[in-house]
Structure formats: C-alpha cells, structure tokens
Amino acid sequence: MANSGAIRKPEIEHHNPLSRTLLQKLDYDQLTNCMRCGFCLPACPTFRETGVEPESPRGRIALMKAVADGLMEPDQAFQDQMNHCLGCRACEPVCPADVKYGQLIEQARDAIEDHAAHSAPVSGLRKLVFGGVFPHRSRLKWLGRSLRFYQKSGLRKIARATGILRVLPKHLQEMEGILPEATARGVVERLGTLYPAKDEPIARVALFRGCIMDVLFAETNEHTVKLLAEAGFEVVIPETQVCCGALHAHSGEMDTARKLARKNVEAFRAAGVDYIVSNAGGCGALLIEYDHVLKDDPSCREDARWFAERVIDVSRLIVEKGRVPVFAAEAQSGGEPCITYQDSCHLRNAMRSSDAPRTLMRQVAGVRFVEMKEADRCCGSAGIYNVTQPEMAGQLLEHKMEHADRTQARYLLTSNPGCLLQMKLGIEKHRPQEKMEAMHIVDFLYERLADSKQE
C-alpha cells in the first residue's frame, strides 16, 4: 500500500483480553481495504443459505473491525460467526479490492483459539488431533493401521450390527459409513522415494503426499506419481515431509501450522526440485501461502518463498508443462457416460486453478464432460466443517446433490480428499437417480491411460 505506511492500527487499550489479541493479530490494513461494496455477498455460500449480512464476508470483516475498533465485545455470537465461515474463499476472486479474507478469518480464529475455554474433553481431543496425530507420520500410520483393522477384522460389522455407533451424533455415523479403506502403506512404501519419468524428463518434481491423503487415499498418491511419470516428470517423495498444517491454520492453531510449514520447507528445499506437486486443493492452498505463514521468521523466510513459488496442482502441471498422455474410457453399452466435476474451493479460489482439470477431463475419449450447475460453490466439506457445523454443511450438500443429479453423470470427480469424502457422503445420503460414483480426478485419469502404464 502506497503512502499508508505511517498509519497502521488504532491505538486502543482494550479491557477484553480477546479484543486485545484480535487487534494484535488481525491485519488492520486488510480490514481497512474492505470497502464494503458488497460484491462478495453473492459468492458466499453461508450468505446465500441464510440471506443475513453477518453470515457474509463483508459482515464478518465488519464484525472483526468493530471488535478491533472497540465498537463491540467479541462475545460468543462473534466467535460462533467466525467459525461459521466455511473458509472456501469464494469471496476472494470477486473482491475488487483484493482483500485477503482467508488470512483475516484465520487470524481471527487464531486469536479466538488463544483464549478458548474448551471443555476438558474437547480440549483433550483438540490437543490429541492437532498436536498428537496430524504432525506425526508414525502416529498417522498407526491410525491407518487401526482404522484398517477396524474396517477389515469384522469389528466394523459388529459395531454396526450392535448399534454401538449410535452413541455418535448422526452426522458422524454417516461419515463413518463412507470412510474409504485405510492403510498404513503410504506412497513411499509402495513406490520408494524416487520414481523415474517415462522418456526424457521434463522436470524434477516432488510429491506433497499429505497426511490424510496418505492414509485414506494412498492409492491416489500412487496414481499421482505414476501419472506424473507418464506425463514426463521425474518424481521424488521427500520422506521427512509432514502434514501441511491447513487444518491447524483454519482452526486457529497457527503455532503448530508454522512448525509444520518450517519442517516441510526444509524437507523440500533439500530435495532440490523444480515443482512441488499437490493433489489436494486444501493442502495446496496453504502450501502456496507458506511465504505468508513464515513471513515473520527471518531464518526461513527466503526458503519459504522458494517453496511457495514452486507449488502447483497436479492437473495444472500436466496441462501446462507436461506431455499430456492419451486418455480413453472403455466403450460401455448405452452410449458415452457423462462425467462432471466439483471444484475444490481452495484449488479454485486460492490456487486459482479451475481450467486445467476441465481441460484434462475433456480430453478423455469415450466420455462426455458435463458442467454441473454451481460447480464452483462449496460442497460444505470445508476441511472439518462438516464435522463441526453439520447443519449448514448438510444444507449445502443437499443443494449440491440436486445439481449433481441433474447432470446424470456416471462419475463425479473432485481434486481434494475432503470434497471427495463429502461427495461420497452426498451420494450415499441423497441417492441420485442414476448410478453415480465419486472419484479423485487423478484416479479417474490414471485408470484411463490408453498407453501401456508403467508398472
């Protein structure tokens, strides 16, 4: 911002400790940049559902600024409203003033989390999940093994038969039903840490394998590597990489998010690669912002910028830099099946990539790509939103499935594990008229590689 260097934040002595933290953590320049034009309102899923101003980006920014300015206390309603945002960031591309809303909402949640008085069980669970499991690869693998044991040993059958799952809230029961088969064998165990390019390598790239991805969708990771190799890339998988920290950042655990970011920057810098490939929009969106996440850390600011500049989504890398392989679906009786696509909000709105997946889907011979109405709108998955805000998430999913149903698609493709699970849940709950299957775009494409696959 030109000329505004001198004036930053109002000099207010807040009595409320949370107000103080909010004033300190919120980027006051961004709060000022919002000119309240209202152009973000039609893009916001929660505003569209409710039609009330506080449920919009402009409303939430006004609330943040009102607290920072001392116009209101950050009461429970304020805190709930900050958590009611999906964080889909559909407001960012439509904002004339380029307000970094995603960063503001994370700063607000981070401040709220600093003062949160969670009940003992919630606090314990948060600590366990955010601090105890996600950051640690070995514990994730243990989780994968346990989950797999539960799913495979007959325990799941018993749990379902005895009705013991009914102790869980309904939306968690539903989630349990659609979880894919977990595994402790991640992509490195399957393919090693280096996978050669088919023919002359175009570039050396590193796979960001993710945490949940590598437990619940390890096969997608494997297919991503093989698809990249097919498109001409040599793929390395740095073993010391950890969870991206996105769920932490969205939930107000910024310190842990920064710790994870530092580890990842270190791991990938050492690998010396041209691109860092993400196959999960939710992770990629934070990875490209590592420069912002680590901006106050002089020891790795430069490396973080190096890292952020190299992050790219798998579809975009293949379309823009790769040798796009030939994809063909096997002929099916009853004509060409339709496929459709649900954008990952973070891939679309933060990584700003929506054309590349569509370009690839249109190139698959033997299927017809049909655009779904409002494919660019959040499905309600939004990280762990569907767990924390089941009511709103359920409403959004219902609308989504109405649109999906109208496409009559055989396959509903996505680019992010959270969206994929939500789509599976939607199909399970709302039962489209035609048989429909939700898949990660990478798996769909990999299975339709026309040439000999590298085995």
Binding site: S4, G38, P54, L71, A77
Partner: protein, 471 residues
Amino acid sequence: MLNPDAAARLRAIVGERNFRDDKEALVAHSYDGTPMLQSLPDGVIYPASTEEVSAIMKVLSEYRIPLVTRGSGTNLCGGTVPALGGVVMVMHRMNRILEVDLENLTATVQPGIITAEFIAHVESLGLFYPPDPSSMRISTIGGNIAECSGGLRGLKYGTTKDYVIGLEAVLADGRILRTGGKLMKDVAGYDLTKLLVGSEGTLAIVTEATLKLIPPPKTKKTMLAMYKDIYGAARTVSSIIEGRIIPATLEILDNPTIRVVSDFAKLGLPEDMAAILIIEQDGDPEAVERDIARITEICMKERADRIEVAASREEAERLLTARRSAFTALARLRPTTILEDATVPRSKIADMVLRINEIARKHGVTIATFGHAGDGNLHPTATTDARDKEEIHRVELAFEEIFEAAIELGGTITGEHGVGVVKAPYLEWKVGEAGMAVMKGIKTAFDPHHLLNPGKVFAKETRKRVVLQHG
C-alpha cells in the same frame, strides 16, 4: 435501545427469528458501500409481506421510531446507513418474481429480488430489462428503484425510472399506496410512481413494483478508440450524437485511469493516451454494422490515434476489460476508494474531465475519472486512506470543488448514486432554495414525522459554495 414494548410488538409481527437487536446484527447493518460512514441501528427486521411491512410501520409511527429500508446495502452515498439509529428493514425475504405478463410485456416483482437474477429470468423468456448498474449481481430491484440506478446502457435505454410503471408502497403511518399499473399511459393525477423512484426511501417503502420489459436487441458490436487529445474524444461523443446515432454504450476512461488499468489488467494500453472511448451498438445486424462503420469514420475524423473494432464476441470481451476493470484496478491502489458521480451535459465532458484533473492536482490527491460519456455521467474516483485524516480533508475539498464545477457546467452533483448523507450538504447548490422548499413539502406530506430514512437528502446545513479559481 428500542422501547421494549415496541420491540416485543415487532417480534410478534415477524416472528422471533426475523427481528434482531443483538450486537452482531446491529454492527452488520451499520454501514453500506459508502466509505467512512458507520452508525448503529437499534434493531433489524426482515419482513415477509406487504401486510407485515404495514403492521411494522404502524408500530414504528406510534413510537416515533425511525426506519431505514435496505436491500443489499451497496449504496454509495450513505443512503442505507441508519444515521439516526432506529430500525433497519432488510427486504431480502420479499424476493419473489410475482409475474411476467407476456401479453403486456411487464413483470411484477417484490423489492428484494437481486437485479441480476431478475434480468436472467427475464432473458430466459426472451425479454429485456435494460438498467444494469455495476452492482447488479448483488443489488436489489428495490434498491435500484430507491436510487433510480443507471448503468452502462443509460444513454440509449434510459435508467430505472423509465422502466417502473407501477408501485405498491407502504406509507410511514402504515397505509398502503398503489400507483400506476400495467399502463403505458396514465395521467390520473400527479405521477407518484416517478416521484417514488429515486426518493431514496424517504417517502415510502416500496413493497411491489411493476416493470416495463422490451424485446431484446438481436445483436451487438463493440469498438474502442484511443485519443491523444481529450477534446478529440469529447468531440467524437458529440459528433456521434449529432450524427443521430445513439450507441447502447459510450464509455470514457481518462489518462490516470488508463495508466492504472493498463498496469492492473496487463492490457498494454499506450499510457500517453489522454482518453479511451469504448463504444457498443446493438440492434438489427445491418443497422449495427452501418452505425459502427459511421462511428469509425467519426473517430477517424476526430483524429483518434487508434481504433479497434471487435470481430468476435471474445474480442469484444477483451475490449470491454479495460472498462470493467477500471473500478477494481483503482480500488487496489489504496485502502479507501471514494467513487462519485458528478454529471454534466455530454457536450461538456472534456471540460469536466480536465477540471477534475486540475482540481486533483491542486489538492495533491489522486483522482482518476471514468464513466458514461454518452450521458455525461462521470465517476471521478479518489484513492486514499481513511486513516489519514489530513489527506481525507483534502479529498473532501477536492470533491466539493468537483460538485461546484459540475453545476457551473450545467450539470448535477449526482447522476445515479443519490444524495443520501454524503451529498445532502450540496443539494441546495443544484436545486436552489425553491427546490428545497418544494421537496421538504413533499417529504412532510408523505411522512409528517420524518421517520423514513431521516438524515438523508436534507442536510441540517447547506455547505457554503466554494469560490473556484481557474487558470
């Protein structure tokens, strides 16, 4: 704080969920699209029907509580900021299209419908509703009526007032007024329909509107002309009109805007151009071709430096990018963006743009100008920082001089945004003492206790006119 009895009665009318007086609701309805303006209401109410609006007004007038009606709150003159507190009435729940009458070519709608959604529906039936304010993706028809919104198509097709032919509105005391109808002619008494359009929510609350629709043009064509001499651009505008051609769109960007847009949208526009005109004609294919050819000739005669005529719709979109990104590009320069809408007779466009540039220089502020050259409606846009009190003061002085300059050139202080709070101190400059007296009389006839949108249009005090020094 609202009187608790009044609050209880309001709750009883709309239900618990649709009346709020918690802090979150009050803060979120304390502003609109106007920079540096905020004032908390005492309550927020969401009615669902004309009957509810009427019942609400009976309670509010009994307790003498002010009311501000709003749609999406995109107003740029502070028109929907509850300057004196009271209740904010949000019309979003009254958002139905009640009827599209294909025999009379009219539509009847509730005020809360989003303009773009209404337009999409009408177009799906093969019809056309021309008013297209830049905020149309979120602004409501009710808000457009209250402000008499314009848009890019104003020159050829007129503004909101030209399409509103009937209204249902609730008066301050709760009585329901009906004006006009599905009638193309109606001289039964004063034209209350036109009076309510643009009355900024100070006379009555519009609860239903009957709108005129027209058949859509068959085709359109877009072109762009660049000038090193701003008078060449201005003469082009006059010559086109003189040549009896009325383009659908005739937009201008001045040099400061060109520089910012070029940098933002990476359009590679030559930065030494004094002005760019963006021209669009619609209609029957032969007529459009003929008009565009004649406009091209006029542009060449007026020594345009470069002329581009779009061969395809994609190319047209590219040419339109310059105009479309003007606001966005300017909004990103500095934290605060102040967009005004001084309007002059179209023959005075060049003089006005140069006067604006000169005024900006004099006060050391950044003001870029773009807008609807065809109807003389300019958008001088200041980019500044609300936190810098000293600079804001200079911006205010500059705008004061811009209003004065517009009036001196035979123009007005506002072409399409409304008076609201921001321009109330200058209204008398435009309409004079007699004009103010008549308007105040009308206001009192409609709303004797001044409950509807108080603090708007009529200022406590008119600003002293600034004496301009030229040269």
